[in-house]
């Protein structure tokens, strides 16, 4: 049911031309995605997606909308080839997902390799009950280190790009610092 709502919101985002409406709908989309993730038992991921998708992402999109003074874009030219490409890719992928095991059974191969080891040993080895936190910060600590560095790089990248005041096309208003 939630997934059907997600598909409806997505089709509305594709068709809508007003950028402000598209950003509002993307906030709704993030909220629905967080609900679907809760149903999938992914509580940490749902909290992060709700905070990041419906919070920070919407604020940044609205800020960019203000900076570029965009309102809505003109009627797009009819796009037959992209639609054909998208439909062909979609059909190929749907045909491929039929090879996946049915949703939710406990015998799937991914539950047999490393996950049982983490679930059984996380409490003795790290004294932390939340297995996701233990795996994120301890067993797979290198990946989290790389992620913190990515966030840091994005922060300095944006700080460098958007430093100073807005410049006219010939550089009329100079930097304010």
């Amino acid at each position: 049911m939630l997934l059907t709502l997600l598909v409806i919101v997505t089709i509305a985002i594709v068709r809508m031309r007003s950028l402000f409406g598209v950003i509002a709908l993307s906030g709704v989309y993030s909220f629905l995605m967080a609900s679907v993730l809760m149903v999938y038992d992914a509580v940490d991921v749902a909290m992060t997606e709700a905070a990041v998708g419906a919070g920070v992402s919407t604020v940044l999109l609205l800020a960019a909308l203000h900076l570029t003074k965009a309102r809505e874009y003109p009627q797009p030219r009819p796009a037959a080839i992209p639609l054909l490409v998208a439909v062909v890719v979609g059909i190929a992928l749907i045909w491929a997902t039929y090879d996946l095991p049915a949703f939710g059974i406990a015998d799937a191969p991914i539950h047999k390799h490393v996950a049982p080891h983490y679930l059984q040993n996380a409490l003795q080895e790290t004294l932390v009950g939340n297995v996701v936190s233990a795996v994120l910060a301890d067993y797979r600590g290198f990946d989290t280190f790389g992620e913190v560095i990515v966030v840091f790089t994005a922060g300095i990248g944006v700080m460098l790009l958007l430093k100073g005041r807005r410049q006219g096309r010939d550089g009329r208003e100079g930097d304010a610092r």
């Binding site: 909290m47 992060t48 990041v52 080895e125 790290t126 932390v128 840091f152 922060g155 700080m159």
Partner: protein, 138 residues
């Protein structure tokens, strides 16, 4: 009477609870859902909503730009420092068992430290992004 009285009063009431909730999510990352990333975004969100309602100058009086620029690399340093401390004591990089006498207690302490580093970097980066976009369009 200004037109945005309801917003101003409501936001003044809700911001302390947002900060408290961010701290709760951070410290309860070991026992329930939570952790550094979620808490960082919630804390940044509290400051962003303050800036949206009361203006960018007020928010920059509370958290100045210099402080944000200082905090962004500090979280990365905390994370790398924990790893380097393990390296200097003869173990592998990011091997937290050296932080205490009993190895699992050391690993729990390492997880807490590392999540604190993540909180500092994520929250200050989100605030820095917001400041960068807002000051450009002033």
């Amino acid at each position: 009477m200004r037109l945005d009285v309801v917003l101003r009063v409501g936001v003044k009431l809700i911001i302390p609870f947002m900060l408290l909730f961010g701290l709760y999510v951070q410290l309860h990352g070991d026992y329930g859902p939570g952790g550094g990333f979620q808490a960082g975004v919630i804390v940044a969100g509290a400051l962003i909503v303050y800036a949206l309602i009361f203006g960018l100058d007020e928010a920059q009086r509370v958290v100045p730009r210099r402080l944000v620029e200082f905090l962004v690399p500090l979280g990365v340093l905390i994370y790398a420092g924990t790893g380097a401390f393990a390296l200097l004591n003869g173990h592998n990089f990011l091997d937290y068992s050296v932080l205490a006498a009993h190895a699992p207690a050391g690993r729990e302490r390492g997880i807490l430290l590392v999540e604190a580093g993540v909180l500092v970097t994520v929250s200050s980066t989100m605030i820095a992004l917001f400041y960068a976009f807002s000051e450009r369009g002033r």
